[in-house]
Symmetry: C2
Subunit: 206 residues, 2 copies
DNA sequence: GTCTATACAACGATAGAC
DNA sequence: GTCTATCGTTGTATAGAC
């Protein structure tokens, strides 16, 4: 035995180099990340603690995911990375930001048929973990990536309001599948929802 | 014997009067209603079929619930009956309809702390039944009770859009509990969300 | 005895077949 | 247009619990 040393201090030096085999470092990291992010939130969860829980070296986070934040969105396991979608959308006319966001989201969601979204919802309902992760996503990605650059006025409130509209839209269209929204084309949805989303982004707030 | 002629031809007449005991007709009806409503939708589910599945007389639907529609909302087992909430809200200035709806909804939801809402969501995610029921709710109660009287223009689309905003708000506030929305007071939420909801109700649509 | 959950029959409305 | 089937609902008599 004795192949892998414990992670703490007073142990024999860890083996270097590639692990024997089978041990899926990436998956272990993802599992550990989901647990730790959920327990302590994004800021409270350190890469070191996550790596320790996974039984691997902290450097593996960078090797497999490219950093703490990419690990976080990977742990969310959302259909397509929202951070990049939102990141791309911010460039351009701020008055049409909602329109661009909705177009991209609909494309991505439609491509998976909403199946992944339903799965995400199920895990949210059953475990607290996924709920905590999604909460962190709204609080961090939405606020940090989009709202800060666009609306310095109450970005947190704006972000959560945007979250209600985006999540509700996805839920009613892809999980509940209520007509006529479920089979409405993108143009209809965008022109119907974008003005409301835009108001949350940059419009007047009480 | 020989009191009543058999209803059909060759069947012994069912026993009349109070059942021996323990047999909970009300619960049986609710279970049967959930199943049949989910299988065939509101219109497709007949009172007779539901009663048959429950093993009781169709008149029991009226006796216990007062009709088919009250049975339906009882089967939904939502936190507070939305049909009455929405029914009360429609009377008054149509331009402040969203405001009235949101105020009432927040009161009701806050009183239960969102616990029932989380439970509902869980059953939606796991079973198809609850999802079908909620879909029927949006399609029927929302459209029939509110939108038809307020916006003759595309009431179905308006109803589903309203559904996205209301459901998303409830989910982010009560299940996800994202700040600052989770602990925002009613006035803030109403003044933030009501204009958007009002646009879905009576505003211009593409 | 009273009270009430139950079963049965029948009514008006409505939709579809012919 | 008429006929029929079926729907939701209502009225009423009955049997068991109390």
């Amino acid at each position: 035995m004795g192949i892998v040393a414990a992670a703490d201090e007073n142990t024999a030096p860890r083996r270097r180099g590639r692990r024997p085999g089978g041990a899926d470092t990436r998956t272990s990291l993802l599992d550990a990340a989901r647990a730790v992010f959920a327990e302590r939130g994004y800021d409270g969860a350190t890469v070191r603690v996550i790596a320790e829980r996974a039984g691997v070296d902290p450097a593996m986070v960078n090797h497999w995911f490219g950093g703490k934040e990419p690990l976080f969105v990977a742990a969310l396991n959302l259909p397509a990375d929202p951070a990049t979608i939102l990141g791309e959308a911010v460039s351009g006319d701020p008055d049409e930001l909602a329109e661009r966001i909705l177009c991209r989201l609909l494309e991505v969601w439609d491509s998976t048929g909403g199946a992944q979204f339903a799965a995400l919802l199920q895990s949210i309902a059953t475990q607290d973990v996924a709920a905590a992760l999604l909460r962190e996503f709204i609080a961090r990605v939405l606020v940090g990536k989009v709202l800060r650059e666009v609306a310095p006025d109450r970005p947190e409130l704006r972000a959560t309001l945007c979250g209600t509209q985006m999540f509700g839209l996805a839920f009613v269209r892809y999980v509940l599948k209520v007509e006529p929204l479920a089979s409405a084309d993108h143009a209809t949805i965008v022109s119907a929802v974008a003005p409301n989303l835009q108001r949350y982004l940059t419009g007047p707030l009480p």
